[in-house]
């Protein structure tokens, strides 16, 4: 189906199901229960899951397939956000033209930066991309203030022209981002007993865009172009002597991944119409590297998992403070309670980076293929168990 083979089709269906049902899956705990703080099913966070998923999917097309490690991809994300906000200021609050411009402009940026950076390989390539990204950050932060609004960040205001829309709504407020009238912030709450599930327009728009981006990535992976990219990672020398010029292939991969980043940046602005220079900082570029490695470099689904995991830690784990810990362990005698809280304290709340760092080290050491490899190992172990069980004849339906 969809021009994919059976395995890829089922993977795509799994991802479709997970993203469409995310408001349920991510909200397993009843509202008001002690565990409710582990619920991740609120629109803002779910949007971030899929937006960073897009960012990581694109990054993986470059890093996972060609092996070229860029440390500057956040620059394209930032460019995407700025482009989108400018579209909201000048044209209209419709997200479609904004996102199209984000992708186009970041693609042009990627073409220029890629053209220069790809003259080098290995660590020199990485350093060049890092240098470019830091340069973009510095420019956005100070020099280009008329375009980026410096450290305050670029925002939509009441006196923006918005030639195809209105500068201000009838009640004098700034209009909201929408898709042909469908407001991004609109949401519907479904209450089932003690549970509340929120369905937000913004999330579903992002999710559908991510599914399209994911589908395109599968097609690229299975295409002759994808094969060439993997060949570049494997043996560039052989590729040369086989009559192929690796340069345009790597540049194309770089531009495509830059456009994915721009798409993510544009969506970010579409959900919340502002853009700041900090989105381009090197920490943001490093984050997408971590996401990809954590999930599984060069795998289809890995980057999405990695993005989800890191965003979950950043937003959920970071909320566990000492009060929460005390309430969990209040059943213990006071002394022991204080001691346990003291031990756990550095790993939660503001210490979430520490936990994530430890997990990252464990994954890289024991699961070089990332979370995907972990999943594969579990699946293999389960299959083995099944095979060990005596087989019942009949039942299995023919496919």
């Amino acid at each position: 189906m969809f021009g994919l083979d059976k395995k890829d089709t089922s993977l795509l269906w799994v991802v479709i199901a997970l993203t469409m049902l995310a408001p349920f899956i991510l909200n397993p705990f009843p509202t008001g229960s002690g565990m409710a703080q582990f619920n991740a099913g609120y629109p803002d966070l779910m949007q971030r899951f899929v937006i960073f998923g897009i960012f990581a999917i694109g990054f993986n097309i470059l890093f996972g397939l060609t092996g070229y490690l860029s440390f500057g991809h956040a620059a394209f994300l930032g460019v995407g956000s700025y482009s989108a906000v400018w579209m909201f200021k000048l044209l209209s609050m419709n997200i479609l033209p904004a996102i199209i411009l984000s992708v186009a402009i970041s693609g042009i940026f990627a073409l220029v930066i890629g053209f220069v950076s790809l003259r080098r390989t290995g660590i020199y390539f990485s350093i060049l991309t890092l240098a470019f990204a830091q340069m973009s950050f510095a420019l956005a932060y100070s020099v280009l203030t008329p375009i980026t609004n410096g450290e305050t960040g670029l925002q939509v205001t009441l006196d923006d022209p918005r030639v195809l829309g209105v500068s201000a709504t009838a009640d004098g407020s700034i209009p909201v981002t929408n898709l042909f009238g469908l407001e991004m912030r609109a949401a519907y709450d479904l209450v089932v007993g003690p549970w509340t599930f929120t369905f937000s327009v913004g999330y579903y728009v992002c999710a559908i865009v991510m599914l399209l981006a994911f589908y395109l990535a599968i097609r690229i992976f299975r295409s002759p172009f994808g094969l060439m990219l993997r060949a570049i990672k494997s043996n560039q020398q052989r590729l040369n002597y086989t009559g192929l010029n690796p340069k345009p292939y790597t540049l194309a991969a770089f531009v495509i991944s830059g456009m994915y980043a721009g798409l993510a940046g544009g969506l970010m602005a579409a959900m919340d119409p502002l853009a700041g220079a900090e989105r381009m900082q090197w920490t943001a570029s490093g984050e997408v590297v971590l996401m990809t490695i954590l999930g599984g470099v060069g795998t289809l689904i890995g980057p999405v998992l990695g993005a989800g995991m890191i965003k979950y830690f950043e937003n959920i784990f970071s909320k566990i403070n000492d009060n929460v810990l005390h309430s969990w362990f209040s059943f213990l005698p006071d002394g022991i309670e204080d001691f346990i809280v003291l031990v756990i304290h550095p790993f939660v709340g503001k210490g979430w980076h520490l936990t994530l760092g430890l997990i990252f080290m464990l994954v890289v050491t024991f699961l070089p293929g990332g979370l995907v490899e972990g999943g594969q190992r579990i699946a293999r172990a389960l299959r083995k168990k099944k095979e060990d069980e005596p087989k019942s004849p009949s039942t299995e339906p023919a496919e």
Binding site: S223, P224, L227, R230, Q237, N240, Y241, T242, G243, A252
Partner: protein
């Protein structure tokens, strides 16, 4: 005039004269062997033909055009394929994927952005790759990870990758080193068959004299970077200078 004309080629590495005054003419549709002791400059000479090295002096003409100053992929697109002394394959890819890449290069040229077509839909190319794998007795290994194969198999795969491009000139740098006897004989048979069936010129570097004398129409003996003699195989066998070159190296 031969299809390959090497004139007065010289190459120095620092103070070392790896090649000097090399003249070589390979006639079309023949097999030319280059033999000589270790370090004679045989691989260096091939490097000068495929754009890996640029000679300090002299010229290299292929099919009436100079190869000097062209990049390796351009030279390959002119019709030269090369098997390396240490196998150069795509170790992270499957055997079949290794075979598809040269076929794409041959059909689509040095670059084409075919990002949404599917590799698995390229029926004609897949069949061509399978036929070639069958010719080198590797069809059963088509799904195998290339890195997991023996050295001899890697060599056969590399040769298949070159042959499937149907090059005008095939350069082989010790293609049977590290191969089992049976595989060596299969390789000889395959090359003889290819020579008969196709319009192909072969330049082969080889230490195994059985291979050399089975295939070569002419032989050049290279010693210390210079051709010592060039002659028919039967005249090379007992040549005093050849013996001297090989014995000289043993001291």
């Amino acid at each position: 005039m031969g299809i390959l004309e090497v004139k007065d080629v010289g190459k120095n590495f620092g103070g070392l004269k790896a090649l000097s005054d090399v003249n070589l003419s390979v006639a079309e549709n023949t097999c030319h062997a280059i033999i000589g002791p270790n370090g004679a400059g045989k691989s260096t000479l091939l490097n000068c033909l495929v754009g890996k090295l640029i000679p300090d002096t002299g010229s290299v003409m292929f099919d009436g055009q100079s190869v000097l100053g062209r990049s390796p992929h351009e030279i390959n697109q002119m019709g030269i394929s090369r098997v390396f002394q240490t196998p150069e394959i795509f170790a992270d890819l499957s055997v079949m994927e290794n075979m598809m890449i040269p076929l794409f290069a041959k059909r689509d040229g040095a670059y084409r952005l075919h990002a949404v077509e599917k590799v698995s839909n390229e029926r004609t190319l897949i069949e061509e790759a399978e036929r070639m794998l069958d010719d080198v007795n590797m069809l059963d290994k088509r799904g195998m990870h290339a890195a997991a194969m023996s050295r001899g198999d890697k060599r056969r795969l590399e040769m298949a990758m070159c042959l499937v491009q149907d090059p005008k000139l095939l350069l082989l740098d010790e293609p049977t080193a590290g191969m089992a006897r049976a595989d060596t004989n299969n390789t000889i048979d395959l090359l003889i068959e290819i020579k008969e069936k196709r319009d192909i010129t072969i330049a082969i570097i080889e230490h195994d004299m059985h291979v050399v004398f089975s295939l070569a129409d002419r032989i050049t003996v290279l010693a210390q970077g210079t051709p010592l003699v060039e002659d028919l195989p039967e005249n090379i066998k007992g040549h005093p200078k050849v013996k001297e070159a090989y014995l000289g190296e043993a001291h």
